[in-house]
Symmetry: C2
Subunit: 262 residues, 2 copies
Amino acid sequence: MSVVIAIANQKGGVGKTTTVINLGAALAELGRRTLLVDMDPQSALSAGLGVDSYNLQRTIYNVLVDSEMPIQEVIHTVRPNLDVVPSNIDLAAAEVELISAIGREYVLKEALAPIRDQYDYVLIDAPPSLGLLTVNTLTAADQVIIPLQCEFLALRGMRSLLESISKIKAKVNPRLEIRGILGTMYNTRTLHAQEVMDEIRSLFGDKVFDVVIKSSIRFAEAPVVHQPILEYEPNHEGAAAYRKLAEEIINGEKTSQSQGQG
Amino acid sequence: MSVVIAIANQKGGVGKTTTVINLGAALAELGRRTLLVDMDPQSALSAGLGVDSYNLQRTIYNVLVDSEMPIQEVIHTVRPNLDVVPSNIDLAAAEVELISAIGREYVLKEALAPIRDQYDYVLIDAPPSLGLLTVNTLTAADQVIIPLQCEFLALRGMRSLLESISKIKAKVNPRLEIRGILGTMYNTRTLHAQEVMDEIRSLFGDKVFDVVIKSSIRFAEAPVVHQPILEYEPNHEGAAAYRKLAEEIINGEKTSQSQGQG
């Protein structure tokens, strides 16, 4: 049974899509069967891995609004061990169309159910909002990773996000856990970034991943040529950081499993 | 009584905020009392006019979720004739909090009601989604301007947007009209942009504004120094284009008023 991890933050531009692509690529590289699901209508995840989703007739949108459409029909294999369920701008309409659906929070969860056995990890890229697409993402997930930009006022908006997570845990998805907070866009040239990370660690303690993702223009360049940074520049420290994050994820899984059995 | 114009498209990066800032600045320059309302939680409009909204305790969010908070308390005058109601990332939570509100579609409309006499034009910057913040924006508006990027597949997503507009017109806001479709990011170096504009004109006829906004790095530079392009480079053709659009808007108003009286 796969572990389903949502990557969520209602702030745009904090590194959600970069994290889904590169954590996904790192897990695949380590031999884990990995599925990436694009729940953002702006479809940067799909584009960044070379799935030309604007021309696709069927995407996650069709799966969400048509309960007869199996998710298997919209899965694209992009690398060994790495599959993608793409989105495109059609998905923006689902935000509206699902409002009147019965069990509207559970639509993505139910869509994923038949394929959960086929993957070790399912990573879901949430849109930069707290609307119904994000609610579906968090309802379908076992865990959530929150990327936080290491900049002034990074925490603005965190309360709303944590409240949303709490509500979803209380009402529709009791097993949802915050897997970790990931510092992103860390600028080593300023003292300020370190101060922000210190503040984040003092607030969230061991919920903060050891690894921190540093700012790099390579993260902007790689998706233009449809590659994870692990391929685009395999020895870059950004690639190393996402490999380390993948190991933290895999090892944490083992730890919590053995704790569960112990 | 002011004319309230929504600038909407669920696609991100098509020039919504650029249009609100520069059309607003052009209307103000022509002596029209103009209010700009930021309904996007990513708050690029607020930032682009120098309203440091991240540090504000009260923004459009507070007005929407607290019916006791008058909108007058969150208006910032940024230039002669030009006022701004800012947003920040708090607004993302309103998308969720309003779901259970009675008359949830009308919250922005009611908030604007007491100040409509004080302005000639109210321009509202919608977020790149079709969720409840956009529904509120379209419910509060008399007219909608749709910016369309002059690029391949510009029309992808238009059907969903037009359907949303039709539904809002049918159910909550019968006087909502499409004021016009605005070609943006027109690249004069490619034949392709002209082909896209031709296609848009053949589909939407005289609903397409005569003026077309050309691509220019100046549109990215101006907000960094908190200026409309009309100030940043007053003689730039982008500034001229938005002045022409403002004149189309003002003259169109007179035409429809005199038609109404005739």
